[in-house]
């Protein structure tokens, strides 16, 4: 790679990144297998510690090359090998570049540290940090003084907590766990998932989940802006020629009180174009190239039970200058 090619503006659009964390047995491998093999129509690259652990259907594998498995559907599975940063560099250099990168962290990793990489690197954009919590064993882990702080750290770093194995644990234990998680990370959305029930877009980029009609909803399209994108979440979007107040926009992107879960977009500000991302509790704003049509645009999503799209709309309008 030449230094210039990696410079901002010269390269392809940032690679969206989902970080998947969770202690041993929380179901990360099952989830990764699903991301690699399900018909989601995207070329996903999954970065794992060791692909020997993933029960991939051999018939799907079209090529093996050292640390990389290529699948018939265009997905790839890479093992970290010696060093996470080397592996990320390889993935960013690969052409064609993946459409989405999923990083499976080790059972004791602090996912916030991995998420920071995606936030810092201009060629990556953090879509989500999801922490899987094993409903059947999480309480026991919290009772282990060697582990408790690690598990709490993983939950606090998450933009989405996925409660797995609720069927094993039973309704009562799962409810108690939900309460526990709520106390640990009050602003973080949780979903219970036997995995079949979790829409894959929620893990990749919920803001890109297909709308039921073949268009992107906006405030003027006549659709109910709170319409259903699956029972879990609702979306909001906006586009227009106006410029935004940069500082106020940064504050709104980071707002904790709207039930906002994912927000992304590009906007003109008096100081130039910026792109902004909100993923769970982390947000970033950074300089960007102007889009060809000169329009600012934003799309957001939140959980149906929490996300106040009307409030977001009102506060967004107030940003326009």
């Amino acid at each position: 790679m030449s230094a210039d090619a990696a410079n901002r503006g010269g390269g392809p659009a940032p690679l969206p990144v989902t970080v998947i964390s969770g202690y041993l047995g929380a179901g990360k491998t099952t989830l990764v297998n699903r991301l690699l093999t399900e018909a989601h129509g995207r070329r996903i690259t999954v970065l794992v510690n060791d692909f020997g652990e993933i029960p991939l259907d051999e018939s799907l594998i079209v090529n093996r090359d050292g640390d990389t498995l290529s699948l018939a559907n265009g997905c790839m599975c890479c093992s970290i090998g010696g060093d996470l940063f080397d592996a990320l560099d390889r993935i960013l250099e690969a052409r064609p570049r993946a459409e989405h990168l999923v990083i499976e962290t080790s059972g004791v990793a602090d996912p916030a540290k991995v998420a920071q990489i995606a936030m810092a690197e201009p060629e990556m954009a953090l879509a989500l940090t999801a922490t899987l919590v094993d409903a059947a064993n999480f309480e026991a882990g919290l009772a282990d003084p060697l582990l408790a702080d690690t598990l709490v750290r993983q939950v606090r770093a998450a933009g989405l907590v996925v409660i797995s194995k609720a069927d094993h644990a039973g309704a009562e234990a799962t409810a108690a766990l939900a309460e526990r998680l709520g106390a640990m990370a009050p602003a973080t959305p949780r979903v219970e998932a036997a995995f079949g029930a979790l829409p894959i877009e929620m893990l990749l980029d919920p803001a890109e989940a297909p709308a039921p009609a073949d268009h992107v909803c906006g405030p003027d399209c006549g659709h109910d802006p709170a319409h259903d994108h699956g029972s879990h979440y609702r979306s909001w979007s906006w586009s227009g020629p106006e410029a935004l107040d940069a500082a106020a926009a940064e504050a709104l992107v980071a707002a904790e009180d709207l039930g906002l879960y994912r927000l992304k977009g590009v906007a003109r500000t008096p100081a130039g174009w910026v792109e902004f991302h909100r993923a769970g509790r982390q947000s970033s704003v950074r300089p960007a190239e102007a889009p060809a049509d000169g329009l600012s645009r934003a799309v957001a999503i939140g959980f149906a039970a929490r996300f106040d799209a009307d409030a977001l709309e009102a506060r967004w309008r107030a940003l326009l200058v």
Binding site: R8, G82, F85, I117, A120, P122, A246, E250, S284
Partner: protein, 547 residues
């Protein structure tokens, strides 16, 4: 040029030979044949073997067993590709002295000078920088903009966790006042000041400047530089204690280390990463079959926690002095039990990194469980760093036959920081408790963890003997050891931790002719002068390498 070992018997006369062999602690002559020690004693020691040619080149020197660096990293050899920016004088692998720089301004002047020799378009990269030892304004992008405004300038700090860059590099990474990334340090006005903390914030710069020490350290120049650096401090056997050891790496290492002009026995240990224990065992065993005279394979490294100075070690109560959260596990404790059991059952020797006392405790629990299940006399599993172990943990190590390789250099390099900031006076005073280890009968080695601190066994020994900090504290007088004990801990001690004590670590008949050639006698100089003894070179398998 080194000399090829022959069947000829050469009798070296020295001012003094410190053998570390209790049967003959001192001598004046050593006879060498076929790269090994034939006899030790006086002028006629070779007479019973038919005599030999007298060689007096070491007549004014003192010979010791070649030093053994039981915990170092090959990356040491990769650093000199870049400009040195540390505050201490340092000698490069080719023997050139690089003066330490006392201020940010001095670093800038050095970089300006170096920039002229670096091809246009290439980044200007420096290493070894440590702001805590410098006065004046902390190095920032304004300083480095004086070096260049149109090419990236990057100064890697000695701990590898921090990087200071110029405005051009910040621009390449897209860092501005709007950046919302942890670890991008700022001026009071909110603009990034050029200092980047931890890998996430450093990655965009390292990537764009193509700075990759790990990759560099796999190449032949780094391997050769590592050997030369080792020779300059008397080391004839050194570990590379956390290697990936891909097949092509091993091919290269076998070839390079076998050449006649190569002075270092290297012991690379395969590093454990998150994988099935059975697969890891199989990898280690396959590597063990590829060992050669100069390259020893088959043992492994497991990293359990982080570092004390980085607040990432796993500590027992009362934890960090400033109330920082406990550190990180690199391997989940449950998995640690599994992998230690599998390795021990397969008779694979382990070097296990444990910095904090909680990490040591859990590791000892896992070793005890594994050894109960599958007893292995003389396993020599070794805890590496094991800096916070107390009497209780040394007692357990002794009972199980676990060795300790203590990071004695911490006294000097981080001792004041531990006392004042990380863990407080009580535990700082008993850090790297060499006395306790020896009193419990634990096999003791001491190390530099180069490049974390510079390789130099005499300096490590000096630290263990004196336990003095830069601020003049004696950090735990009760844990001081004698010079003789410290010399053991840089020769036979580490040789035992590498299971090589039948071959190296002392000057006695049958062992390899591996010597450190010193200008003075460590047992005669004042203990405080230990680190000032000049190293003249080494003998490796009977071949002489002079600095």
């Amino acid at each position: 040029m080194p000399e090829t070992p022959t069947s000829e018997t050469v009798v070296y006369r020295a001012r003094k030979i410190v053998t570390m062999d209790p049967n003959r602690p001192e001598a004046t002559h050593v006879a060498v044949r076929e790269g090994r020690i034939l006899a030790v004693g006086g002028p006629d020691c070779a007479a019973p073997w038919g005599g030999g040619r007298l060689d007096e080149r070491f007549g004014d020197a003192v010979l010791l067993p070649g030093f053994v660096e039981g915990h170092g990293h090959m990356m040491t050899g990769a650093m000199w590709r870049y400009v040195y920016a540390g505050d201490q004088d340092r000698v490069d692998p080719d023997g050139n002295l690089h003066k330490g720089m006392p201020s940010a301004e001095a670093v800038v002047a050095r970089l300006k000078k170096a920039a002229a020799d670096i091809p246009q378009g290439e980044p200007i990269v420096a290493w070894g920088f440590d702001p805590i030892f410098l006065g004046g304004e902390r190095l920032n992008r304004r300083h480095l903009d004086e070096v260049s405004t149109d090419r990236p300038v990057a100064v890697v700090h000695s701990n590898f966790h921090l990087l200071t860059v110029n405005s051009k590099a910040l621009e390449m990474a897209g860092y501005s006042r709007d950046t919302n990334v942890e670890g991008v340090a700022r001026f009071a006005n909110g603009e990034p000041n050029g200092e980047l903390q931890e890998m996430a914030a450093m990655f965009p710069i390292l990537r764009r400047c193509r700075i990759d020490f790990r990759e560099l350290s796999r190449r032949e120049p780094a391997v050769r530089a590592y050997a030369k650096s080792a020779m300059r401090c008397g080391v004839t056997t050194a570990t590379d204690l956390a290697a990936m050891l891909e097949d092509e790496d091993v091919d290269g290492l076998l070839r390079i280390t076998a050449s006649d002009d190569f002075s270092l026995r290297i012991v690379p240990t395969l590093v454990f990463r998150d994988m099935a224990p059975t697969d890891f065992v199989a990898r280690a065993q396959a590597l063990g079959k590829r060992s050669s005279e100069m390259l020893r394979l088959g043992s492994v490294k497991i990293v359990t926690d982080g570092s004390i100075q980085g607040f990432t070690a796993r500590l027992k109560w009362p934890g960090h002095l400033g109330g920082q959260p406990n550190g990180i596990w690199n391997v989940p404790p449950a998995q640690l039990f599994e992998v230690i059991e599998a390795l021990n059952a397969a008779r694979v020797q382990m070097h296990i990194h444990t910095n904090g006392d909680e990490a040591s405790e859990v590791t000892l629990d896992a070793l005890e469980a594994a050894l109960c299940k599958s007893p292995w006399p003389n396993h020599r599993h070794t805890l590496q760093h094991v800096q916070m172990a107390g009497e209780d943990q040394f007692a357990r190590m002794a009972a199980m036959g676990v060795c300790a390789n203590l990071f004695a250099n911490h006294m000097w390099y981080f001792g004041d920081a531990h006392y004042e900031m990380s863990i407080g006076p009580d535990r700082a005073r008993r850090m790297d408790a060499c006395r306790s280890a020896l009193d419990h009968g634990v096999t003791l080695a001491i190390h530099s963890d180069t490049p974390v601190t510079p390789m130099g066994p005499l300096t490590v020994a000096w630290c263990a003997v004196n336990r003095i900090t830069p601020k003049g504290r004696v950090l735990g007088e009760a844990q001081r050891i004698t010079v003789a004990e410290a010399l053991h801990a840089i020769t036979l001690g580490p040789a035992k931790t590498l299971k090589m004590d039948a071959e190296i670590g002392s000057i006695e008949t049958g062992k390899k002719a591996d010597f450190a050639v010193l200008a003075d006698d460590p047992l005669s100089v004042a203990p405080y002068e230990l680190r000032n003894i000049e190293v003249l070179g080494t003998v490796s398998g009977g071949r002489v390498f002079m600095a």
